[in-house]
């Protein structure tokens, strides 16, 4: 089949290891994604909060810089669990927007153009396909969430000393686990929604709706029934609770509300839903996404 021979010939060379073939998908997807200058610019902007975080950590340990800025170290935010939790929660937003831009076309484009048989007629399973597509988001979102966050944690440890590092090692696992849970949730949701609706714009709208409509509805339920269980349908609230749990800042009694019954006011303590409920809800959402993907990602759908 050489260009100049114009004959059919078989390939007799070496093959890549089977386990690594799912990585072909993200490699080609990145070429496509970073073709857009707008997206590349946005992706670079996603690192700006991390730069601010790095500067804050640096200022804490640089007396001359503090002197130049005429700032007392006590006036700065302390570098503790809350500090890292804040930045992990903050970076969840850029991650969400990157998912909105990259996630929807990944599966929907293949389904719309009947490309799945082309993937699956090769030594490439459905699991590898889903894993490959998810890797696109897993790699991109990791690059702006837990990887730099852990590097900043190491930076802080380097500046503060080995004792601080050992005492706060749980923060590293909290950064990693909470970010990975968020990334997995985003990746699974975007794949499942795009597999379900097949159209990019509708999939993007669906992903916006999934996060914001239940949040509004949950808040309405919370206000009406003076509870926090309404948040069980809000993915953002679930993630906030899970992250708080991992960083050790979770408080069961989260709010005190003054309820007026006629002229008489009384204080009502509203308890957050327990952590296990948040974990369970996230697990259920992920399981539904996987079930949807298992149903939709097929070479051909049999019409019964």
């Amino acid at each position: 089949m050489a260009v100049y021979e114009h004959t059919y010939k078989q390939y007799l060379g070496k093959l890549t290891p089977e386990w690594s073939r799912f990585l072909v998908i993200p490699r080609h997807a990145f070429q496509d994604v970073f073709k857009s200058k707008l997206f590349t610019a946005f992706f670079v902007i996603c690192f700006l909060p991390l730069l601010v975080e790095a500067i804050l950590i640096y200022l804490h340990h640089n007396v001359s810089a503090l002197a130049i800025l005429r700032v007392n170290v006590r006036e700065l935010i302390p570098i503790d669990a809350s500090f890292f939790q804040f930045w992990v929660n903050f970076q969840a937003w850029p991650a969400y927007f990157v998912m909105l831009l990259v996630g929807p076309p990944l599966v929907s484009r293949d389904l719309r153009n009947n490309a799945l048989p082309l993937y699956l007629c090769r030594p490439f399973s459905r699991t590898e396909y889903v894993l490959g597509k998810m890797s696109v988001l897993l790699i991109l979102l990791s690059a702006i969430t837990w990887v730099p966050q852990l590097l900043l944690f190491l930076f802080q440890s380097y500046l503060e000393g080995a004792t601080w590092f050992i005492e706060n090692l749980h923060l590293a696992s909290a950064i990693f686990i909470s970010s990975v849970v968020w990334i997995l949730l985003l990746a699974l949701l975007s794949q499942a929604v795009s597999a379900l609706v097949k159209w990019r714009v509708i999939a993007s709208a669906g992903l916006l709706g999934i996060f914001f409509i239940p949040w509004v509805f949950g808040e309405v339920v919370n206000q009406m029934f003076l509870t926090r269980w309404g948040s069980i349908i809000s993915l953002g609230a679930l993630m906030r609770n899970v992250t708080s749990g991992l960083f050790g800042t979770f408080a069961q009694a989260s709010a005190q509300i003054t309820q007026f019954d006629g002229r008489v006011g009384r204080e009502v303590v509203v308890n957050e839903m327990p952590l296990w409920a948040a974990w369970l809800a996230l697990f259920v959402v992920c399981a539904i996404c996987l079930a949807l993907l298992s149903r939709k990602v097929k070479a051909y759908e049999v019409v019964r």
Binding site: M1, V3, Y8, L120, R122, P123
Partner: protein
């Protein structure tokens, strides 16, 4: 020796009949929602180019999909080069290529990028995949258009791009599902020529599914006809034609009734098929020269004499009338 090497060696040998069949059907049945689509298919397919024929809905595409592992058989199984389609599906997919019937491509991708991606998914390293992608696109005639986005391709070009992705990794068996669908006559000719070239290279076996008899007739040595999900006919096209060589079609002038009586006296089966036309089946011992003697005896002119072989259309129509057959 690795499986791929064994298959490649086998595929390049002149007589594959001594080895494992290309496709071995062992009571293969497929059911969708309680409705039988393929029913108890049996047989060994050994041809270098096998035509899969049948009316719409006969189960041709389902058979290909089942062999590729897209659908699980409800009973029975099949083997491709000795590998079981249920237990060795992944191995099978490493040495087969598939050109789907429907429009299938990855949007917003150039042809060379698309074919390279497909080659890499088949296990080729990136450099080799890129080289083979270029070669495959030149081979199918898309060399000049290989950097264009697939979205801008015409239907014929998309068909050729599908063929390129099916052969880029150099498979030993290529499934072509309706490869000439929607093509204009020149594009169809180009596709048929490519299929024949691949067949004649001796490096790959081909299973060509089509409802166009002419495509199959031009490309295939063996045919498998499906009817209502059952195997109606499996035969070697050339042998089938040879076995019917003694059909003669005569165009005569003169007293055709007397001539016909004479044919009867010679022991030949005959049929007057139209004005001045007689179809004759020569029986043992009777030669063509006897017909000329007979004609001169009855003062009849034989204006034209031609061997009438059973065309694929005859075989197909017979299969549709007779129903279920076997190997």
């Amino acid at each position: 020796m690795e499986l791929s090497e064994t298959i490649q060696k086998q595929a390049s040998l002149p007589d594959p009949a001594n080895f494992a069949p290309v496709i071995d059907l062992n009571g293969l049945s497929v059911t969708f929602g309680g409705r039988p689509i393929l029913q108890n298919l049996q047989g060994e397919l050994r041809g270098r180019a096998i035509g899969l024929l049948g009316p719409n809905g006969a189960g041709k595409t389902t058979l290909i999909h089942t062999l590729l592992g897209f659908h699980l058989p409800s009973s029975g199984t099949a083997h491709i080069f000795g590998q079981d389609i249920i237990t060795d599906a992944k191995q099978i997919r490493s040495f087969v290529g598939y050109m789907p019937e429907r429009d299938s491509y990855i949007a917003k991708m150039s042809a060379v990028h698309f074919v390279r991606l497909m080659a890499e998914l088949s296990g080729l390293p990136p450099e080799a995949a890129l080289e083979r992608a270029h070669e495959a696109l030149f081979y199918v005639g898309l060399g000049e258009a290989r950097y264009r986005s697939l979205d801008t391709y015409s239907l014929g070009m998309k068909q050729l791009a599908k063929l390129a992705q099916a052969i880029v990794h150099g498979p030993s068996l290529i499934f072509l599902d309706e490869p000439t669908n929607g093509l204009d006559p020149p594009a169809r000719q180009r596709m048929i020529r490519l299929v024949r070239e691949i067949r004649d290279s001796g490096k790959a076996n081909i299973v060509l599914s089509s409802h166009l008899l002419r495509d199959v007739e031009e490309c295939c040595e063996e045919i498998l006809i499906l009817k209502d999900g059952r195997l109606a006919v499996y035969c070697n096209l050339e042998e089938e034609r040879k076995s019917n060589r003694k059909f003669l079609l005569l165009e005569i002038r003169g007293d055709q009734d007397k001539f016909a009586e004479g044919l009867g006296a010679l022991g030949c089966e005959y049929a007057i098929t139209g004005d001045h036309r007689v179809k004759v089946v020569l029986q043992g011992g009777t030669e063509v020269r006897d017909l000329y003697h007979l004609a001169s005896q009855f003062d009849v002119q034989i204006r034209r004499l031609s061997y009438k072989r059973d065309s694929l259309e005859d075989i197909f129509l017979k299969a549709m009338e007779n129903g279920h057959g076997g190997l």
